[in-house]
């Protein structure tokens, strides 16, 4: 497929615009006619990510841009066979559009050079991922991240392991899953607290998570296809004590606390699991801990 007409559009896209390539790069390409535009991060910023294959030199020797390089001395080029630094381009901010030699004119117009420079000075962002690469089916991607985080949560006293996913810092990006159980529903779910920023939103999410399950528990006849309109009631009043159910959580000290008592960010940093309890049974369970945890900022929600 021809992508030449879209050369000047340097906004990163999912697809690569590849080019006919030269022979082996290692045999000095001075006679090569193909001139290629390579982009990299400014300074040495992205170089660590480029693994051990980093090149600094030969691209410049090929190029048009050898003297016009305003992007900083050290570039994370790969001196590959005519390929742009695609190996780590995903960690570079600019898209690597490789120029087709037959379109030389377009390629080396000032406009594209400027845009290139502009792009390369952007901050390094999350990797521009390519659709369907690496070739892992989506159910494997999702499961890996949630199971690794569960391990991080539950084996905090374990021997430090080499499991790569176990990084609290990264968990913010991947989601912060805590278990949540509801009275009367045998199977627990997980809720991603990173997806919310307030108690209201969490309360709505809990309602959505359990509404159907609760209705299914009530209607126990086998094989009945659940009609979403029938038999469901919204689960409300989770936070204010007025509903049939109340949301509580267990914190890092093992205490049970009513949800909503502390500022949201404090809640997120101490919560270990959530429970949806019947309000009628609340009094017998939680009174003590509630008193101990009288919040300083009672009006924070």
């Amino acid at each position: 497929m021809e992508g030449c007409s879209k050369l000047l559009d340097l906004i990163p896209k999912d697809r690569e615009w590849l080019l006919r390539r030269d022979k082996q790069r290692s045999h000095g390409c001075s006679e090569e006619k193909n001139l290629e535009l390579r982009l990299g991060p400014p300074g040495g910023g992205g170089d660590e990510d480029i693994g051990s294959g980093e090149r600094e030199d030969s691209m410049l020797s090929l190029g048009y841009f050898s003297n016009n390089n305003t992007c900083g001395a050290k570039r994370g080029f790969k001196d590959t066979v005519g390929l742009p630094a695609m190996a780590k381009e995903s960690s570079q901010p600019c898209c690597n559009k490789v120029v087709d030699p037959s379109e030389k004119k377009k390629a080396f117009s000032p406009a594209s050079a400027d845009t290139a420079v502009l792009n390369s000075s952007q901050k390094k962002t999350a990797p521009a991922s390519v659709v369907g690469w690496p070739p892992i089916r989506s159910f494997r991607k999702n499961l890996a991240s949630s199971s690794s985080f569960k391990q991080a949560l539950e084996s905090q006293n374990a021997v430090p392991s080499k499991v790569s996913g176990e990084k609290p810092v990264e968990s913010c990006q991947k989601g912060f899953f805590v278990k949540i159980n509801m009275d009367g529903v045998p199977i627990g779910r997980k809720v991603d607290l990173a997806a919310y920023d307030s108690y209201e939103k969490l309360s709505i999410a809990v309602d959505e998570l359990f509404r159907d399950l609760l209705a299914a528990q009530r209607d126990t006849s086998a094989g009945v296809i659940q009609n979403k309109q029938k038999g469901e009631r919204a689960i409300t009043g989770l936070l204010d004590g007025n509903g049939e159910y109340t949301l509580v959580y267990e914190d890092n000290e093992g205490d049970r606390v009513l949800v909503g008592d502390v500022p949201w960010h404090m809640f997120v940093s101490t919560v270990k699991r959530l429970r949806v309890l019947k309000s009628s049974e609340l009094h017998s369970l939680c009174l003590e801990s509630k008193q101990e945890k009288i919040p300083l900022h009672a009006d924070y929600k």
């Binding site: 995903s90 390519v130 084996s155 659940q226």
Partner: protein
């Protein structure tokens, strides 16, 4: 007599009509009232039928059917197992008209690269017309295996109603159906022995399908539903297991916790294949809580040879499986984010292991341990925990080398990594000569050998050269046309080739198309191969099941020329997203395949057939 024989071998049986299937053999159909001794024709037919019954390999049968018309007919009437590698290569009607006594059908639909979102989901591969046609003609159907087909609940319902003898349903990578459809199968297929759902995308319409199995003893031998991501009624499941004395294979989904697993295991110690569900408790268990004796539950399963699941593993419970490790031939830890330290005590016991799937969280060190113990290993798959291009690199060439040195019987490997060297790949090519499937995915695109910075050409070249039985190859990393020249030169048995972000020029693809006579399935993405390269395969495309090329350098005109030159080829150009018409020349995917039927009628708008 001799004349008769000559005739018969060419054109024998012309007098027979399709309904001869029902006529008693050995009777002279064209004679008068009296019974005459069977003619040579019929004798041969008799013999042929009986002999052909023993012919099970479809390749042999295909060959037999080409001998003569009578052989063709006899073969068609005796073939019981159908394999259709591309559901669009032939129509349901043609199939059901030729083969009349089919008991088992395998049907495959979408191309594999569709799994990675490279084309919109509603491309096709509908099961509906097949089940409709088979429902009419194959009343005795017993087994069905579908891969990458779109199966709707209505289709499952029709299946359940149409085939009274139905025994085995295997769905792999299918979608379009939900728990309602499963409920139909469970309740209506009274002789069901096998219900295997693997990597399907099942819609949760919250129907409790497990409860839909009929009361009383079942004939279930295999129940695999680990991919069905829906809550189930555990009590119903437990009852089902209790009344299924023949159950040998049970793979649970992640909603079954370890306490529930225990209860099932003590009901079914005869299991040979077990998928353990979440393998963690439903609630955080405090110290000193009474817990079931998991170890003895595993110890009681003396026939267990295949273990999987561990979907949300709490590694504290891993030691429970020690009693079965020594007998295991297959272990799937590919959902278990465990470290080397956690793997080693387990793998140390697994001397008989032949198949191992793990996450790269076990690191090179874990792979060392595998290499040290699992001398019988045939298949290894290492999946990434973090499937990104610039992620961590817990496994590398070191692990691959270790495996190659310890597991000389290796036949199949799928290995995801961030760093690799030619040396390690070359070593594997020499240490593991039995390799049939070699799939290496270096996740960073265009990554060279991380020590020498060379392209990965030599490594893959060594694989095709030294692994003389190689039939399936997936390449990655920085590759020049040289790698493809090696493949074309040495890969004489290669049937499936997957290429991504590789090659320099049209020569790469030409080497392969001209050099690999057995090539059946070729899938290429984001590689600089253009129309000229595409043309170089004209002599071969009718021998292939399909060719997929996406984000390469093809033009619509180039593809059209192929379509014109090869009328029996269906040439589809596909838009990557579901926008309406295709603009000018631009398309994302070329998917072409041989077909007896011509352009399919069910192509969606984002597909154009040239």
């Amino acid at each position: 007599m001799s004349e008769d024989r000559a005739e018969m071998s060419e054109d024998g049986g012309e007098s027979s009509s399709p309904s001869s299937a029902t006529k008693p053999r050995g009777c002279d159909v064209s004679g008068g009232g009296d019974y005459l001794s069977p003619s040579a024709d019929q004798v041969l037919d008799n013999v042929l039928d009986n002999v052909l019954l023993f012919l099970t390999s479809r390749r042999d049968r295909n060959a037999a059917s080409l001998v003569s018309k009578s052989w063709w007919r006899a073969e068609a009437l005796t073939r019981e197992e159908l394999f259709i590698g591309n559901c669009y290569a032939v129509s349901p009607r043609r199939v059901t008209e030729r083969f009349r006594r089919v008991r088992a059908v395998t049907l495959k639909g979408k191309p594999r690269f569709a799994d990675f979102n490279l084309m919109p989901p509603n491309w096709g591969a509908h099961f509906a017309p097949w089940v409709a046609a088979m429902g009419h003609r194959y009343r005795a159907l017993e087994k069905l295996c579908l891969k990458r087909m779109r199966v709707k609940d209505e289709d499952l319902e029709l299946l359940a109603r149409s085939f009274p003898c139905f025994k085995e349903l295997v769905l792999v990578c299918c979608d379009g159906f939900g728990t309602s459809g499963l409920a139909m199968v469970a309740s209506k297929c009274r002789q069901l022995r096998v219900l295997d759902l693997t990597e399907d995308d099942v819609i949760d319409d919250e129907v409790d399908w497990i409860s839909c199995f009929p009361e009383g003893e079942t004939s279930l031998e295999s129940l695999i539903f680990d991919c069905v991501d829906c809550l189930i009624d555990f009590e119903a499941l437990e009852q089902l297991v209790t009344r299924s004395p023949s159950l040998k294979k049970l793979r649970l989904n992640r909603y079954v916790n370890i306490g529930q697993l225990y209860r099932l295991m003590i009901q079914a110690p005869q299991l040979t294949h077990l998928g353990t569900g979440s393998f963690s408790p439903s609630e955080i268990v405090a110290q000193g809580d009474q817990e079931p004796d998991y170890v003895s539950a595993f110890a009681a399963c003396r026939s267990l040879v295949c273990l999987s699941g561990f979907r949300e593993i709490t590694s504290d419970y891993l030691p429970a499986i020690y009693p079965v490790c020594a007998n295991l031939t297959s272990l799937n830890f590919s959902y278990a984010n465990i470290s080397a330290e956690q793997l080693i005590p387990v793998i140390r016991h697994c001397h008989k292991l032949q198949i191992l799937w793990v996450l790269d969280s076990v690191c090179d060190e874990g792979l060392h341990a595998v290499a040290a113990t699992c001398k019988d290993l045939r298949e290894l798959r290492v999946f990434p925990v973090d499937a990104r291009e610039d992620g961590e690199a817990p496994v590398s060439d070191v692990g691959l080398l270790a495996i190659s040195e310890g597991c000389s019987k290796l036949q199949s490997i799928l290995y995801f990594c961030q760093r690799m060297t030619n040396a390690a790949v070359i070593a594997m090519s020499k240490n593991c000569p039995d390799i049939v499937v070699f799939r290496l995915c270096i996740m960073g695109r265009h990554q060279p050998d991380h020590i020498t910075d060379e392209p990965m050409d030599e490594g893959f070249g060594a694989i095709v050269k030294n692994c003389k039985k190689l039939t399936r190859l997936a390449v990655s990393g920085l590759l020049t046309d040289r790698a493809f020249s090696y493949i074309g030169q040495y890969g004489k048995l290669v049937r499936t080739l997957s290429v991504a972000f590789a090659g320099n020029s049209d020569m790469g693809l030409k080497y392969v198309l001209e050099g690999c006579p057995r090539l059946q399935k070729l899938e290429i993405r984001d590689s600089p191969f253009g129309d000229s390269a595409l043309h170089s395969g004209l002599h071969h495309y009718y021998n292939m099941r399909f060719l997929w090329m996406s984000s390469c350098k093809l033009t619509r005109q180039g593809c059209k020329e192929i379509a014109q030159r090869l009328p029996r080829l269906v040439v589809e150009v596909i838009n990557g997203s579901e926008e309406d018409e295709m603009e000018d020349d631009f398309f994302d995917v070329l998917y072409m395949y041989r077909s007896l039927e011509g352009p399919r009628a069910d192509a969606p708008r984002f597909v154009t057939i040239l």
